[in-house]
Amino acid sequence: MTPLLLGLIGLLLAGPVPAVLGRSRWLLPTPRAGVVLWQSLALAAVLAIIGAGFATTVWMISNGQTGPFMVAAHVVVIGLTSIVVVRLAWASAQVALDTRARRRRHRDLVDVLGDRDGTEPGLRILAHDTPMAYCLPALGKNRVVVSAGALSCLAGPELEAVLAHEQAHVRARHDLVLEAFSALHTAFPRGVRSKEPLLQAQLMVEMLADDAARSRAGAGPLARALVALAGQSTPAGALGVAAGSVALRLERLAAPVHERRVRSAAAYMLAVAVLVLPTVFLAVPWMIDAWALLS
């Protein structure tokens, strides 16, 4: 049973659990714990599926005579494991290479097209009317890009909030967190995967950067900057989710800052439990059994 149970846990952690957790607002006040919980869920899903593959292989070797249904179920588990492992390796490499290539090219363009204002070494100003601000994280070669359109619609404290937000992304390498979730999303086959982990990770990372900006420039300027830069509609794009995320960020700014110690402790504990419990109750007993069987 172990392989099937592990496979089931893997599938639950890859699909329904993120879907439910993504819809709840439980993690929104504690983005740091939230990111950790999402990472642990993702890791647990991958480990469970890999574990299921191993367990199934051993089961196939040790159990010669069983019904066709059980054999078929185990073949499915092995198949799923192989797909996830191969795709995860492939997707990680692909996402890492794509991201770096795109960022490098963009940085090269920004460097020859943008202006330096002389205050911050990595800050580039683009002579463009569309209000926008973004960062290009990279070790030692960070760029924070702000358009002239953004400068003209942001007052001093608002600009400070934007810069503080982007610098928080760059300093904490939030892009690496997002990259891991992108790879994971690409790795799981359509139908099994959920888009929630990646979307939630994006949202949590934005909220973390918002917290940094809020403590430097205040909630009011940050909120105004958010609305000023998000409130520009663009012709293309499916943006429902994005709008939702700006609304959630604003909502968070409307509430006073107070620490949610209990909630974040609970999220951290859940993160540990999700990783440890399947290992202790399923993987370890199975390993002992398998060892006894094979030796």
Binding site: R100, P121, Y134, G237, L239, A243, L250
Partner: protein, 132 residues
């Protein structure tokens, strides 16, 4: 902090590109050096290094003309601007890689109106707090 007397290679890249965009024909290192060193002191080898870096970045191409190399911009400024803006504005949620981390994603007009209403609530709350 960089001192103003020693411009970094990055700053020069931009100036060199400006010269190449402004030129009707491909320029040699000597041409570019002559133009730029009219404004400030620059070593010939520095310009050579900058042009070499720009070539590696595929922003500049070079052709051999007799004993010297001639350099020209691969794309016009307008083309590169279009490419950059397209890349910066192609926000497509899940497919977007973590290459560019935007401050705020864009929204539809109705959503923008909803955001403006939400902003009022934030400011209402913020007035009760001393500014930081």
């Amino acid at each position: 902090m960089a001192t103003p007397t020693a411009p970094k290679l990055g700053d020069l890249e931009r100036d060199v590109m400006d010269r190449l965009w402004g030129a009707a024909e491909p320029r040699s290192v000597r041409d570019v050096h002559a133009e730029l060193s009219a404004e400030r002191e620059l070593a010939y080898t520095t310009i050579m290094t900058v042009l070499d870096r720009l070539t590696r970045k595929q922003l500049v191409s070079r052709t051999r003309e007799g004993r010297a190399y001639l350099y020209s911009a691969v794309n016009s400024r307008a083309e590169l601007t279009a490419e950059m803006m397209h890349d910066a504005l192609s926000v497509d949620g899940l497919d977007r890689t973590a290459a560019l981390v935007h401050f705020a994603d864009r929204v539809t007009p109705e959503e923008a109106a909803a955001l403006a209403r939400a902003l009022e609530r934030v400011q209402h709350h913020d007035e009760g707090q001393p500014g930081s």
